[in-house]
Symmetry: C2
Subunit: 222 residues, 2 copies
DNA sequence: TCATTTCTGTAGCGACCGCTAGACAAATGA
DNA sequence: TCATTTGTCTAGCGGTCGCTACAGAAATGA
């Protein structure tokens, strides 16, 4: 049994800013791990897990295949790390809205509006990586992992809606599950629209229409 | 230059019901072309264009690779034929609603309700083939062909909405493009939800919420 | 200087991809 | 019966897939 080496995330290499640990023993890595990871992220985002080959990855990351495998494990592990980074860097706006806004309605309003912007932002692929990158994937586990993320987001919104119902912010007859799922479907539909060429303005108009299902003013009782 | 043979759609083989043409010259096909095509349709629907290999296809169609290529051309042609058949067999409910219902609103209402049923029907994969089967496809032409279909459907709805506006059925200030795109996003989001495990009842609830953006009664003026 | 450790580049593994050549099988018309 | 036509079967083409063995390069501590 061979020792798994280190290879893991927090290797500071030559960029010794801050509390950089002492240099590791062997030959230092000749590329910046985070930069390479970002390139991989963009490739997976644009083409999806399956259609992005290791050969594509080594080209855009500008490293050899052995370096990729030594630094990131296999393709699957690299993708998982990409999804994690995507979540913290690009895909956290819904979670943030849910945490910061006072009501579920306000969180959804902010989420849909920000989605219109985020999904059409120049400089990276359009739409949401979590929605698209594992579609039509031969590896069912990869497909399922993103599906779980999507459904978890909807479940989080549902429980937030339930809390508002319990607090009297939303009427007792509110179908929290349906309302949450409607928002999830809107986000996913907007992401698909972004992939299909819709502009920010067009998505914002769609978001405004979708938001009209909620009562115009903060609380309502019927 | 070799003659392209016949191989095309309307070969009756042994099933000589109705006005069957005279038998062609050579050895007759040993499989039913439509049955094999249906099996290919289900495979592409479930796994998408790229993730369905020719080897997968020959297995589910229960024919050899040369028979597949002789009867359907290459993989791309087979997929295109599958998309055509899907359109007439499974995916025509929106088009039908648009043609048969008196107003755009009624057409959308019927479309969303039927989508909830169609996208969760047992006996075939969930969701819409046109939405999913060419996602993350290495062949950009295949991806684009389904994208064109999706956008054409939205454009058709938009012009139908414009007609209702011109006829006074919808208010003059109606944003036809946004309204059509909202419906497209809903359908695509519901399809994604169906793929992610949503039930017919759950999708029906989502559809009802989405329909509440329209005025409750037939016409409205403001 | 030198053994040790770790990364990089070359080169290629076995598996699968889409696709097809060529031999044989099964129908036709004569 | 027999040449012709067309479908099926076996076998395998060149190419790409994800991945890795191996040798050399570049750092370390002694």
């Amino acid at each position: 049994m061979k020792a798994p080496k280190r290879s893991d995330a927090t290797s500071a290499t030559t960029a010794g800013a801050g509390k950089a640990r002492a240099r590791p023993r062997g030959r230092p890595r000749s590329f910046d791990r985070e930069t390479a990871l970002e390139k991989a992220l963009l490739a997976f985002w644009e083409h999806g897990y399956e259609a992005t080959s290791v050969s594509d990855l080594t080209r855009v990351m500008d490293i050899g295949a052995p370096s990729l495998y030594s630094a990131f494990g296999d393709k699957r592990s690299l993708f998982e790390e990409v999804v994690r980074v995507y979540g913290t860097r690009y895909g956290s706006f819904a979670e943030r809205a849910l945490a910061e806004e006072p009501t579920a309605r306000a969180a959804v309003e902010r989420t849909l509006r920000e989605a219109a912007t985020a999904y059409t932002e120049p400089g990276h692929p359009h739409g949401c990586l979590v929605v698209h990158a594992a579609a039509n994937c031969s590896n069912p586990e990869v497909e399922q992992s993103l599906r779980d993320r999507r459904n978890a987001n909807i479940a989080a919104l549902e429980s937030r809606i339930r809390a508002d119902v319990a607090a009297g912010v939303l009427p007792p007859a509110t179908d929290a599950a349906a309302l949450a799922r409607h928002t999830g479907a809107m986000i996913q539909g907007m992401s698909q629209q972004a992939r299909d060429g819709a502009s920010r303005e067009e998505l914002e108009a769609v978001a405004e229409i979708a938001l009209s299902i909620w009562p115009r003013t903060g609380t309502h009782t019927g």
